[in-house]
Symmetry: D3
Subunit: 250 residues, 6 copies
């Protein structure tokens, strides 16, 4: 029995990355993964959080948000409840960690790169799409700095992309849309570099626990998916990018 | 001496209205006025605020927001300061009033229409563009209800659009972009119906007061601009709209 | 058919301005317009907001508030809801803009003048009464500074007062009390200088739109009202004021 | 060596109670104790907090606030810090307790009486003045209910008034003004009934501890002060009050 | 008729003070008074609040909190309501005042001592137990500073302990447990030094007022209780404490 | 080269679980893992969140918190910043998910079990210790319900425990203390059942990415650690527990 939208189990939805989407931002991307659409911007600020002052190191931080009507049912804005919800917190921390792991923060110097991921339409996989899109916006912002005053060491160390994988009934599938996600027993997000290494692995069996064998199969599917995503990032960046990743030849 | 972008004093920037922009919302529009871009959605909720319970009347309310990087310099999110800023409050109240004035709230029955205006790129005139775009999203949402269960009286009473006008040095101009706006002595927002009547007039001479003659000239310019905007709304809605406004033949 | 309280259509309610009402403030006024009573204070602070640091310019900002029982039904305090309501925001921004427009902020130097308008009893027209009263408190505070260390240029450039006008049924009236206000189709606030120029014009036809002719008639009524108000301000200030306005002879 | 303002050690400042000060409130008072001025209102609400629903009992609760410029230096509003400060909390809890202790909450039935004490000018003793003034507003509100639908048992059981006493250097004094208060070693607030019993005794020796003998002398002074205050309350209420206290003949 | 737990009217519950309870804090204590258990820590910070900057003086401030399940019914955390409740505010202000009164803030220099009192199990008397326990933690923190760099003047001036007393029916009792507290007509907290002087006296007759005779008897009971508590503090501190109080020989 | 505290790489710190630690809670545990100490309580509430009303299903939710001085440097309380920090959010969501996965929420019926994990002393592994301790508190609370009114199906489906694993330099180690954690390149939390299945796997290579081989070795270490932890849970529960897990015989 096939998937809702006729995809193969190891097939991504159509992915489209539009660079330079917002004119004011140093880097900005609209990423579309199926019906999931996220505006990702990267903004440079010439200061760092207090814990890094004087360290010579930079910082990358992320804010993630959904427009109220990105979802089936209108979701009230955080400000109307005076609270960021836990899911949002969890996601923006994940995106921040993922991007920091790919960048040499010393090479950047005392700057903060603010990543904003605003989901304008949600259909599953918003956090992984955000990582994939935000990475491209980040590279554009770094390139803008680099063109102005070249870094001694180019600060991006590897490509980073992310996909979701999961188990629906007994089938392992890649890149779940919302309808699939809501029926999955196990849900996993995988963030990898272009050298095939893991940056983050998060698997949850809230509906039911999963075996080591399940885990292994999901990891294989995730590796396949992130590889494909990195190829799409590279295609998007190839026109005028200063750097093409360390894992290019592998 | 001409305008920054070569426009005539009474000329709007290019306007583009894309309907059905967000798949989940009952009505949704991307409006682009020059480089100003706003996503406007209209969402139907089957209840009303406490002060209308049992009244048989409906309500329209608006939330306005800018993405952090819609602006030249990144603007922190409201939630990070735990406060909606005053400008945002003022704008969302204006949009709500403007749209309510065009709709027969009794005809809607006990429903709330939530209007969300999220500015993804700002270049002046975000509040007037929001009104113009949100009106189209509102009509689409009303039509969706109407197709499902026809209203006895079609609830939208007139078209509503808005433009900004202002005085730069001694010249009166229509539809100010950000650079113009920041040097204007007098700034005015005008909201009108397709019958040529005023819904809201807000003129401010913070830099210097203005005479009755100035006011009269600005009103003429504003009337011209809103008429043009209403034509653009009608063009956008003509394909499948159930209603074409009361002022059509005038 | 006459007005609720027997006034003529172009007649203000009785206005009383009591100066030096609060002993600690640099300027303070109790303004009574009919049953509307507002305590307005002007406080001098020797610093400016961040965006003006080092500019040599001063700033004027306003906070507006109602005591919980200023109204028919007790209104919960902002702090109990952790939010300033939108109406309050809109009003305090209006008052701030109106007063700043009348003052040469360069002449003041790097000082902030805090205007506090606390409504202790509300019966319509609280925002316009606040502007009219706060202007007098502001002049007293400026005079206090001037007596201590004379300014090179006296910083107040013109008198500023405000009135509301509106349309009830088909009648245009000046200075609406609460009962009138709640039945008005069109509601307008007008802020003018003693030179007969506009600082702010805000007209709203939430109940129904209004024509250019309506607007013109309201503007005439508003001009008459603000002129009268400025006379009352001048009478209040005449005992010991250092300055009597630019429009005195007109 | 005498007191700053020439008073005797056991002498109150001039006290003035103006009833029916705010037209909308069920009970309202302006109390002036020297330069301390507080607007006290009592508002009736036809419901009780959740913990009393169905109990047949009523509730009295208090909110205390200072206008920003009631004090020498402008004090930012609570809402601008999103926090009620601890002192305010402490005071409003004290006022609430004091008034509840004088009222038969069963006799009131399931109603809440909201007491609002807004200090418009502060010169020491704002919390005790608030209790003394709020009691009178409370009686007026209860009388209004009583005239409409007589209670079976008149719900007010005793008069309640409050004064501050303190030790300055080695002198015990009654009713400290701000300047005295700021130099006092020991500060005490005493709330008593017209039957000469204590409702609340709060003494603090933050600057230095105090002996039992000091405490005894302060209690005597406090008793004298509250007796005087109750006489002033009775004078204020005598014109049209339905009830004159239990301790009248004592 | 005796007490619930068989104690004499002037008898404390078993008290146990465990020092060095939390390894990271400069001073830390678990105090158990019957079933009431409070973790008290004292933390040294090398700066003072703005109002003391440059004064050469130190500060002591307290935060009091209950774990959600310290009580019979789970109490939601402050953060989930975005408000500290009034009772908590009142208590932490009391603890701060009590401890500051016993310390020479000049002798400490520009440091802040943060006192945290976290109630892990509540059975009445949490505020008085917090004072008694926090004093011991404070002494340990001061000693730690003193051992590192001896103060010229040892900054603690006197021992401080606190007990509750109250009237249940007509019986005056010492150290009320929760069940007693909830039926008491009069409730009083007494904070005293080892020299037998008062630091704070707070008596409330919310249920019914109390006479001078009642007050006197409660004060006697309170004095007895605080003396006993101070003995327990001295026993706890005797092993390695640098200072044994001024009232030792009395 | 060995570990800081002399442990073997696959060795847990000493673990101690004290049941019935807080008398008011339905279930309560003090868990000590080395110097990490967490009070875990489970509280039963007879209602469910809105999204489950009428569903017949129960809910488990968690709040995690650190006492301010649980850490080396005092950490301000959430309420003083009006925000829960992201780390706390992430942790409490993890604990909630982990426990829900082990319980048949339908069997519980429409009740909420509130899990509170309050860290009183932190030395690494607070989130995994919280899961391990909270599970025991949860079982005690479920047993209390079961003894009162036996469930048809015993709602706990499997034991759940958690450990951290990580890579320090090139060595994989189990159960990192704070000092180890702060130097680890890769950090992973593993939550498993007594049947050897995964509930949650979270691995982060913020410092540097990790290979599939690294991941596999960490998973083996984690499985060993959770098995040991489950044995400790079973020992703690053996005295009077109604249920001993499904994986007992494996």
């Amino acid at each position: 029995m096939g998937r809702i939208d006729g995809r193969k189990n190891d097939q991504l939805r159509p992915v489209k990355i539009t660079r330079h989407y917002i004119k004011h931002a140093e880097g900005s991307v609209l990423i579309e993964v199926g019906d999931t659409k996220v505006i990702c911007t990267a903004s440079i600020e010439d200061k760092v959080p207090p814990f890094l002052k004087g360290s010579g190191e930079g910082w990358i931080t992320c804010e993630y948000n959904m427009l109220p009507r990105a979802t089936q049912v209108r979701k009230p804005r955080d400000i109307s409840r005076l609270k960021i919800d836990g899911r949002t917190m969890e996601i923006q921390r994940l995106i921040g960690r993922a991007l920091r792991s790919a960048v040499d923060l010393k090479a950047i110097g005392e700057k903060t790169i603010w990543i904003d991921c605003d989901v304008i339409q949600a259909d599953g996989g918003t956090r992984t799409s955000s990582i994939t899109g935000a990475f491209v916006a980040l590279v554009d912002a770094v390139n803008k700095l680099h063109r102005h005053t070249p870094f001694e060491v180019y600060p991006v160390r590897s490509f980073v992309s992310a996909v979701s994988v999961g188990i629906i009934k007994d089938t392992k599938v890649l890149d779940l849309c919302y309808l699939e996600d809501s029926t999955a027993k196990v849900d996993m997000n995988i963030v990898m570099t272009d050298e095939g290494e893991y940056i983050e692995v998060q698997g949850t069996g809230e509906e039911s626990p999963f075996s080591r064998k399940d885990l292994d199969e999901l990891l294989v599917l995730g590796e396949k998916g992130t590889k494909h995503m990195i190829q799409i990032q590279k295609d998007a960046l190839k026109t005028d990018c200063l750097w093409i990743g360390t894992g290019a030849g592998k």
